[in-house]
Subunit: 338 residues, 4 copies
């Protein structure tokens, strides 16, 4: 059996609890020894529920413990880079939820701190660890479909987040499409260089009043001339819609949604099946576990994580370009952003 | 049994012979009494093969026959509007292959002539008559998927046409994407108002040398704020790729390719099925028959055809906007074109 | 163009009209010159509807015409062998609907007459000409799935026939399962040697009162040790259910039902598609045309038809064995039947 | 958090280790405190690998520990009933792998002991906990498909077990089909009353020399007149093949195999996907976890387990009837067995 790795969770909101539960119950070799949250009650209830021995409100307490080797940062986005730098200084390996930050300067400081400390650093793009998306990447990387020409990413949520969340989310591109920007870059081995974005408020006028969009289409160009199209919507009646298709010179590969079962029911009126998974936590159960396993493996073997700080920076740049494209109704080069 | 309608075929190339064969063998109530082609041998062999009683090189011979009620124009595009006007003057109903023309002025003259003569006029957008595309339209029109938000059209050929054809084709937008522009307009009941096009030469450098592209992505905006994305490629390794998906406020509908059989074969290595239909004639066999039946029905009942001259004009305008968008790398409003 | 073959239709009921319409409108090279039916009105209306020049009540009138080369027998089953023998004597090629007869002695006389006359003789097992079933046969015959071990045939009707028909049908095995017995023999190249049948009245008690069953399962053994299972029901809520799966040493092949379209609709409640074809005429449109083309080709090239009299005898023997198995609740060897 | 339940594992072979690993790593609230195996090395390595604090060779050591509430019996079949009785006497809840035994007298003694002790007893029919099979059961139980008429179960292994295992397995019906007998009974709420079995040696002659079959078809009749057909083979080239279809008066429901991913790859030659899961441990990962959760829940809430001793007895009776049917080539009533 692998020696256990002691971890601290920083931030005990929805995603923090998810990672904590996985690390406690489904990732052998992980030991969560402390959880902190700015809200004392939140840290406490998380610790109680999962049997985590220590909790607190100050993440510095985690960094101060010499027995903790790694931290999982799930606090609000604007606190990420500060914690990353402190954790790097304390020599802790870092798993950080996406996005690293919404400011490129701060992202660069964090990446520099990570490099200097020589720690393992991984960004939470969990979809990369899903067997379906991995199969697509393998097909592209191995040449099964030849040279990729056209990528098509569909990504729709079952329902929009609360309007208070929308207001501080940084906008749909940084909050939602960022996963798809990462996917577009993950699937094709050529830098994305240009973005054209268009969008509308079609689901809920309140989202528009909050200054955001809920339905967008983004067209990306890779340096090698390939294109990617991303279709997003904050609300799909039938549930969580996450599909990808890559078309290349020798063929194409596509993946469908995941379903709670594969039963086909034939009735007097329709041939039908149950809806796909409705919620991202159910849909991506296994990929959240797999990304933590990968993080622990990287620590154990002293190797680079599969989603580096540099990987985490790219989608932020694309999101910024998408925002500018939308505002100006013209294609925007990534080189304009920085 | 319905009384027969006498027809003349003008142009005995590939598509002309297809229509002639369907009208002779698979469309009850149609009687092809003459075929003409600028190439005498072509008209003659078509007549011989199908048992058409008369043939010639001058389409005027068809128009001069009082027993002929309708003509099917399959001659080269640049001859279309001239023949349409002559046929209208002769009081013949007209079925014309797409595109009507590549010049909007000439298209408008043809449409005016059609209106003045009060004849039935139908443009050859056969895909509208395919059961799959019709099911999508029904779903959209009936509200089964609510308000449409995002349309996605995939349209790829099994292999590029001969390079001599590419040179005179008018470019990929007018030759190939035009079907998809029509489909985008057919599926959603709101005018298309803006186009952003991007493209590349990825299949064959000779196509680029001929001044054309072989791989394009076009983003369309409807007046109602919905979007459509079209992905085209002149070559798909796996055959003829024709799919559509429409996403709306209450759901989504998508169609797959058509296959010669639906057998699933499980072997030591893969679970697999035979390739989809490779060729448009095989794929759209039934829709070519159905469009002719619709044309004859319109004549019999004196009603407007399901694909009018105005319908045929729209995709030409969009194709022109797409070309301009590509040249300028910016979105182009259809109102800029005319 | 192939020279036309002149045909006479004997029997203008539902299936007779179907063949007549196909031969008139969709099979190039066929010319229906006469139709007869014991019911004068039936022959007359069929002739009028399809423009067949002659009609009558006596099939002998067809056999007497020297310009007629072939006949299509669609009269009641108990008249088949008499007409076959008369047609053979008159030197007419014969297409006969299934079953040839329900008496093996009469079948053997008819086969002997056919052989003596040297005519082309084909039995109406149209499913053999369906692209899906053909793909399965190809997979088995070519070794794609290795040695076949287990065949599974599902065959269910959308609704039971009228009870008056049930009374004279000869029972479900001779009327309905006979298609599946033929399919079982068609797919695997080894004689069927034993039958075990079980069944029940589950759809309509009136069927039981008429001395028949409506829901049966039949287990067949081939000489080579492989097995086939047939599941029949007179009523499937979702329509016409016709599927096959063959499992062999190197893999398996299965086919699904045919659908009027392949659209997938995702809604708030289900992911669903329209029902499969409901009616055998719609489901097997193309196979009815293909079997006639095959019949004409056999005549033209003077070769054996793809469904010989011997082929047509086998399913009758199996049906008899199935009936005896059901009555005795034990497996019955075909050698017990004759 | 639920209070932990202390468990002992009896038998550390493949399936014992599987349950041990699940209980240690993936079933919150379970605590494996001891493992025994007749082979000391096996118990020891299992304990070491999973961090189980105690191990031994005598299962009595488990039963003697007052802190252990439940045992998981994974020892050879012929030891099951002895251990069950001892465990019941010791007041331990019992999870026992299938089959309980191959002797009905011993099974009845074990069931009596369980009843007397009032313990929770569960048999290891894990497939009942699979989401696909559960969806089928729900459809049947809820009336979604009306009255069930015909059940079809396909169950094929990727490759036969070692020949030494075959020799002591009790025969294919008791070793392999037993899962399907349980499934047939699980899906339809009416007792199975008659069995007709047929089979052959088609995969490996050595299996025949060992007195067993490798390819069987079994036809079951329910008391309510419905039927079930089971198709088994010890070797499917494409992997683990586990499918079910139930046809009823109002519709039908069917489930497909499970796949490691749902990617569809279109190439020059085929449209294809990766093979289904090859191995039962991978295919049924989640159902093994779910059955243990159900066992723990039954203990916690003092309720009857979802797979009782009586449930475990039925498939053994059916297997015996199937064996007799095969030997006598006639249908066998379950009432003949006992």
């Amino acid at each position: 059996m692998n020696p256990s790795i002691n971890l601290g969770i920083i931030g005990a909101g929805r995603i923090g609890r998810l990672h904590a539960a996985n690390l406690c119950q489904r990732v052998p070799g992980a030991k969560v020894v402390m959880v902190t949250d700015a809200l004392a009650a939140s840290a406490e209830s998380c610790a109680a529920q999962l049997g985590i021995p220590a909790h607190g409100t100050d993440y510095q307490a985690v960094l101060n413990r010499p027995d903790i080797q790694a931290v999982v940062i799930c606090s609000p986005t604007d606190t990420h880079t500060g914690i990353i730098q402190a954790a790097a200084a304390a020599g802790k390996h870092v798993f950080c939820e996406k996005p690293i930050d919404v400011d490129l300067g701060r992202i660069d400081l964090a990446i520099a701190a990570v490099r200097k400390a020589g720690i393992v650093f991984q960004v939470g793009f969990n979809r990369r660890f899903d067997p379906n998306f991995q199969r697509v990447r393998t097909a592209v990387a191995s040449g099964e479909i030849g040279t990729p020409h056209q990528v098509h990413i569909i990504s729709r949520d079952p329902s929009p987040p609360p309007i208070e969340y929308v207001r501080v989310s940084g906008g749909i591109f940084l909050d939602m499409t960022i996963h798809d920007f990462d996917m577009a870059q993950f699937l094709v081995d050529s830098p994305i260089v240009e973005v054209f974005a268009t969008g509308d408020v079609r689901v809920d006028p309140a989202i528009g009043e909050a200054g955001d969009l809920d339905t967008v289409v983004v067209l990306l160009k890779y340096a090698n001339g390939a294109t990617a199209v991303i279709e997003n919507c904050r609300q799909a009646a039938y549930g969580y819609d996450q599909r990808v298709e890559v078309f290349g010179s020798a063929g194409a590969i596509r993946i469908d949604n995941n379903y709670p079962n594969n039963a086909i029911l034939s009735t007097r009126e329709w041939v039908r099946r149950d809806l796909p998974h409705h919620f991202f936590l159910t849909r991506y159960t296994e990929s959240y576990i797999a990304e933590m396993q990968a993080f622990l493996e990287a620590i154990r073997h002293g190797r680079r994580s599969p989603v580096s700080g540099e990987d985490g920076r790219i989608p932020v740049v694309i999101a910024m370009a998408a925002r500018r494209s939308l505002q100006t109704n013209r294609p925007v080069r990534l080189s304009e952003i920085g």
